[in-house]
C-alpha cells in the first residue's frame, strides 16, 4: 500500500512540531506503515550521526577576542559615566574583601599588618578580575546550566535559583578568588543593576543577615547550611534584603 501522508507531515512528526492531536493520528499511522517506520528510523539515525560527528564548529578564540576589542573601542569612557563592568566587579570584589577582612582578620591582625595585607589583596583581586572578568563566566538564565557550570569548577555544591518573577533575574555566574580561596559568584539583575552574590563553604553555624555599606556599595552577608553568602551591589539596601529573603526562603 502506498503511503499517502506527505513528507512534511512525517518530518514535522519527527521534529515534534505537530500539534498533540496530529501527532497522535500520525503515530497511529506509523504503527501500520512500514515505509514511514523505516524513514523515521533513518531520520533518527541521520540526526544522531549529525550530532555525534563533531560537525558543530565552535568559534575560534580569536573571533570573540577581536569582537570584544572592537566593542571596547565603541564605548569610550566618558566623564561621569558608570565604570566599565570589570571595574565594577573589581570594586565589588574589593569591597567584599574589605568586609570579609573586617569581620575575620581584624581581631588577629594589628592595624598596620591588616592595611598592608589588604592593600596587597586588593591589588591582586583587581588584576585577577581583569583576567577572569565578569564576561568569562557563564551567561545564562538557566538555573541548572549555571549550577552545573559553577560546580564543575568548584568542589562544593550550591543552590542556584532564578528569581526573575520577583524582579531578580539570574544573569549567570563565575568563579572568583577571594582570600586565596575559590568562591562561586552568582550574578543577578535587579532594576537595571547587577548584584553579585559570592558563595563559599563555611563551618560556622547559620547566621541572620548582617549588612553594611562602603562608598556607594551595599552588602548583605549571611550563613546558611554550611555556606556563607555575601550579596554586593549598588542597588538600594532593601533590594539586597529582598534578594536575601528570596534565597533564604527558597532553601538556600
Amino acid at each position: 500500500m502506498k503511503c499517502d501522508f506527505t513528507d512534511s507531515l512525517l518530518h514535522s512528526y519527527f521534529d515534534d512540531e505537530l500539534s498533540t492531536l496530529d501527532a497522535l493520528e500520525f503515530g497511529r499511522h506509523v504503527e501500520q506503515c512500514a515505509d514511514c517506520g523505516t524513514t523515521l528510523v533513518n531520520l533518527d539515525l541521520l540526526s544522531g550521526t549529525l550530532q555525534l560527528s563533531q560537525l558543530y564548529a565552535p568559534a575560534p578564540a580569536s573571533l570573540l577576542r577581536e569582537v570584544r576589542h572592537k566593542l571596547g573601542s565603541m564605548t569610550p569612557p566618558r566623564a561621569g559615566a558608570k565604570p566599565f563592568l570589570w571595574q565594577w566587579v573589581a570594586a565589588a570584589a574589593a569591597l567584599l574583601l574589605v568586609a570579609i577582612a573586617t569581620w575575620r582578620l581584624s581581631p588577629e591582625l594589628s592595624n598596620d599588618n591588616y592595611e598592608t595585607e589588604l592593600a596587597g589583596e586588593i591589588v591582586d583581586m583587581h588584576m585577577r578580575s581583569l583576567e577572569v572578568g565578569y564576561t568569562t563566566g557563564i551567561t545564562s538564565h538557566d538555573e541548572r546550566a549555571v549550577k552545573e557550570w559553577v560546580e564543575r569548577k568548584l568542589k562544593f555544591a550550591l543552590p542556584v535559583r532564578d528569581f526573575a518573577d520577583s524582579g531578580f533575574a539570574l544573569q549567570g555566574g563565575r568563579v572568583d578568588v577571594v582570600e586565596g580561596r575559590s568562591v562561586a559568584t552568582l550574578v543577578y539583575a535587579h532594576e537595571g543593576r547587577l548584584i553579585d552574590v559570592f558563595i563559599w563553604p563555611t563551618r560556622k553555624p547559620d547566621s541572620s543577615p548582617r549588612e553594611g555599606s562602603q562608598q556607594t556599595f551595599q552588602w548583605v552577608d549571611w550563613r546558611k547550611g554550611k555556606l556563607e553568602f555575601c550579596a554586593v551591589s549598588d542597588v538600594e539596601p532593601t533590594g539586597l534584603k529582598q534578594l536575601y529573603q528570596l534565597m533564604d526562603s527558597s532553601g538556600s
Binding site: H11, S12, D15, L46, L55, A57, A59, K70, T139
Partner: protein, 179 residues
C-alpha cells in the same frame, strides 16, 4: 562606527556574545570554510553591535543568526555568485520517493557527512544546520531565514532526503555539486 553606551554593551555581552559559537558555526557551514567564516562572522557581530540599540526583546540567538545569515549571503553574492545559483536536483527528489531502505551509516561518517552537507545548495544546507546542529524550531528557522514555515518544512524534508541518498550511495555523493 557609532557609539553605544555602557548599558548597551553590558546587554550585548549578556544577550548576544553567548551565541558566538552559533554565529560562527552557521557562517562556517554557509561559506564552507573556517577562515572566511571567521571574517564574515566578525563582520556580522559588529553589524549586530550597530543594530543592537534597536533590538528590543525577542530571541537574541535568532536575531543574531539572522544578521549572520544575511551577511553570509551578501558575501556569497559578491565573492561566489555561482554558489547561490545552485538549484536542488529534482532527480534525487524523485528517486527518493521509492520505497525507503534502511541506512547503514558507519566508518568515516564525519568526512562523508561534511561532504554531503557541503554538496547541498546553501538554502537547504542552512535549514538542516539550524535544525540538526543548532536545535532551532521551525518557527525560529523561519525567522532567521525569512522564509515561510511551510518552505522550512519542505526544505528540511528535501535536504534530509538528499543527505540520506548520499549516505546510502557514497559513489553518488559528488554528483550534485555544481559549484
Amino acid at each position: 562606527m557609532s557609539e553605544f553606551d555602557l548599558e548597551d554593551r553590558v546587554r550585548f555581552e549578556q544577550l548576544v556574545l553567548p551565541h558566538v559559537d552559533a554565529a560562527f558555526n552557521l557562517a562556517r557551514w554557509l561559506l564552507r570554510g573556517r577562515a572566511d567564516a571567521e571574517d564574515v562572522a566578525q563582520e556580522a557581530l559588529l553589524r549586530a553591535c550597530r543594530y543592537f540599540p534597536g533590538f528590543h526583546g525577542g530571541d537574541p540567538r535568532a536575531w543574531v543568526l539572522q544578521i549572520v545569515r544575511n551577511t553570509c549571503y551578501t558575501w556569497l553574492e559578491k565573492n561566489r555568485p555561482t554558489e547561490l545559483a545552485v538549484e536542488f536536483n529534482e532527480k534525487f527528489h524523485q528517486q527518493n520517493h521509492a520505497t525507503p531502505e534502511r541506512l547503514a551509516i558507519s566508518g568515516d561518517d564525519r568526512e562523508r557527512l561534511t561532504r554531503a552537507l557541503e554538496a547541498l545548495p546553501p538554502r537547504f544546507r542552512e535549514v538542516l544546520i539550524l535544525r540538526e546542529l543548532e536545535g532551532c524550531s521551525y518557527k525560529e528557522i523561519a525567522a532567521i531565514t525569512s522564509i515561510p514555515i511551510g518552505t522550512v518544512m519542505s526544505s528540511l524534508a528535501r535536504a534530509r532526503r538528499q543527505l540520506c541518498f548520499f549516505l546510502r550511495d557514497p559513489s553518488r555523493k559528488e554528483a550534485n555539486r555544481e559549484v
